[in-house]
Amino acid sequence: MTKNRLYRILSRIVDIKPGEELISISLFSYFFLITTPFYIIKPLRIASFLDKLGANQLYLPYLLTAALMGFVVAFHSKLQVKISKHLLIISSLTFFTLTCFLFWLIFPYNWSWLPLAFWIWANILIIVLITQFWILLNEIFNPREAKRLIGFLGSGGILGGIVGAEVAGLLAKTKLSGYLLLFASGLLIACAFVVNYIFILERKKHSVTDEKDKGRWQELPKGGFKVCFDVVRKSNYLRLKAGAVSIMVIVSLLIDWQFNKVIEEKAVSQNSMTSFFGHFFAGMLFFSFFLQLFLTSSLIKRLGIRLSLMLLPLVLLLFSLGFAVSANIFLAVLIKGSDKGLSYSFNQSVHKLLYIPVSPEIKHKAETFIDMFLYRFAKGIGAVILFLFISIHLKFQYVSLAAVGFILAWIFLNQKISDEYVSTVKQKLKRKWGRADRMVAEKLDVDYTKLVFDTLESKNRSSVLYAMHLFDLIKQDKLTPEVKKIISYKSDEMRISSLGTLFEENETTLIPKTDDYLSEEVLKKEIKEILSLDVYQEVMSNHVEKVLRDKNREAETAKMEVAKAIGLMDSTSPLVQKLDELLHDESPEVRRYAVESAAKLKKREHVRALIQNLSNPLTRDDARAALEKYGQEIVGTLGDYLKNPKMDIGLRKAVASVLARIGTQEAADSLTHRLSEKRGDMDTELIDALDRIRSEKPDVQFPEKIVMTKIAREIKKCYQILIETHDSKLKSKKDEMSKGLPKNLKVSLMNIFKLLGLIYPYEDIMKAYQNAETGTKDSLAYAVELLDNTLKKNMKNIILPIIEDLSLEERVKRCKRILKTFPEG
């Protein structure tokens, strides 16, 4: 059968992707070939034990299995460290095949100890082989793949159970009954071949050699029971999981007793009881199989981890309460059927998924400890509890109420587990980058940096400007020896001198030789006094008038000096009125100095001129910095510009970034309300501005309704881009898609995540975005898993089809389906 045909067949029953068909079928067969022999062995085990030793002796295999499992776990962990997983699984299968064959040979001798040994051996077989199956499955698939396929793969095990039980039932009545164990041995050999094929497939996929594979296991610390136990003990997540599993086992044991008790009381004969159990278990396994194959994956996807974990305990809680009120056969069947039916299928899959975000080395040890040892140990504890209940003659309904108590504790632990699961997924994802504007602001004093460059630049242009820059540096206590050294050089020297000559002793200096005893404080005070003198203002007024009237190009430097000087004056100085004219000067150099002075004076009358300077790229950065210094008081004015569609778009975009820098609640509101505009020509800048506020001011709130509406619109835009790309006959577009996402889709996607970050936990959303955008296939899967557990249901339903690892065809198919019911507006 060709891969395509196999894919077409499988894709009808399971959410499979091209390339996954062989590995999925192989794993399905692997599980099938473990459970089929076990369910052939199981009836033989019970029958031989009851026949030779009787039901009263059943405590013996339970206790001995629990005790022996400790040694088995220790031995298995040591083997994990020493040999490759390929060799480990094949060796285990070979061991159980040979021992099964040995039991077949010695069974006719009817030794009295044989049923006990056979019971314990069979228990060890199923625990070891199933644990190895889940370990391998978790290694092969990432969380998203596992979620999709777990229903199908798990159903292989249940189908094996049905087939094995039926084979045992049918053959037991014929002359072939003596060959049951031989048949089971044959199935275990077939299983070894399937496992071998799985490793061949995996090797092809990853080009991993046996030696490399062995190396991976050898990297693990020396194993053993204690190491496995310590791994669980040290992890809060695994401790919770171990607790939940223990309680689940105890509850199951109490339910089992209640069920048997009711059946025992109602049954009229041993044959009728046998018949009932036969029909019941067949029906239960069929229910499990159906649930596992057709519903488990979609249910887990629909409910998410949190609700999936709650399903079984809630169902059992409901029936146990009913059982406490009225213990009848109908409820007994319902409660036992739901317990085992859901445990074998849905609940098992959910619990296996919980291991996926755990690192492989920890996972192996935890899985070994919980599934191989703790399960049996909890059963022992449950048996002791039950024994106590029976010995104090506890009434039937009180046992049900005790079960209710255990179920409530189980629900509590499951709630904790789902919280820990999300945080474990989060830990898998690293934030790849943060907002650089924030980082630059933290590491750098941009105003000081620019001042040093301005000081250097002004040396050649004007000694007045230079002196004023020096004075600025002194005022800010920034005229450090290093700065003095740099600016001490003539600019020509600065441009040609090497670093070596820069530090020579007898350098030429342009710094005025000042008296060392003249303190900077005195200097500041004296200059301030001079600037505020009436006579100075009068003389300067004439000079300023003259300079402003001069239309020659040479006047530019003089205007720059005036613009800079005004910034040193008091805001009440009459000369400050001249600043507005300088803010409108045709020279960007003059305007830039005027902008800087306006920022120092912070007078309301200059705001409009400053905003006008945002439209010119040569003064935009300085105007933006100046307006930011005004802060909250100009948010209203900026908002007016922002919402005026007649204004230059470049200016409005710059206004958005000023509001982002101011970053108050009002600034955020002003920006958010513009998101409602349908024009969309400023979307990217508005959303980026809001993102900046969100990253710097976590306390600022954003109106959810507006943001959600905008997200929905952006998602719709993404869908349309995808559909257009897909439907287009233009080859160039398809080529673009095959290389990666189209440009406009990338921008739209970035906007969606920034918007999501406004209303959901910012760090989580950014982690998800960055890993989905630039990460590996696995990090994309974890990113989707994080979103799946973070976003509200209606939101994730419309976002995940854009993010998930899907083919373009599948993506477009889903988009088209969602668009049919997409909310308008």
């Binding site: 504007d437 980082m439 940096t449 630049e457 450090t480 740099i486 090497s498 820069l502 960007p588 790229p617």
Partner: protein
């Protein structure tokens, strides 16, 4: 100021010649050129400062704005072949704390794919 672009090892290199200053900027600024590259999907940018003689505060703003735009998109912007004296000014003003500056182009190119 003249800026020309070339590509090497998946990195766009801007060779800048002259002075990065307000008065030297006419049609298109360095930041605009960087933004255009980012819009085209480029995420690795290198500014070759071998022929940069001087920069003013506007130039500093242009470099920082280019750096911020690139890094906000998960990209990297680095500088190579800066003169020693300009590097000294960058050191004193602590720009070297933010910007990755390399002596030669090859080392700078390799550094894009190291971390």
């Amino acid at each position: 100021m003249i800026i020309s672009a070339r590509e090497k090892n998946d990195v766009i290199i801007f060779d800048i010649e002259g002075e990065i200053r307000r008065s030297e900027t006419t049609n298109i600024s360095l930041h605009q050129l960087v933004k255009d590259q980012l819009d085209d999907g480029t995420r690795h940018l290198l500014l070759n400062f071998q022929k940069v003689e001087f920069i003013d505060s506007f130039g500093v703003g242009e470099i920082l704005a280019s750096y911020i735009s690139t890094h906000n998109l998960g990209g990297k912007l680095k500088i190579a072949k800066m003169s020693k004296k300009l590097y000294l000014v960058f050191q004193v003003t602590m720009l070297t704390k933010v910007l990755d500056i390399f002596d030669d182009e090859e080392t700078a190119l390799k550094s894009f794919f190291k971390d």
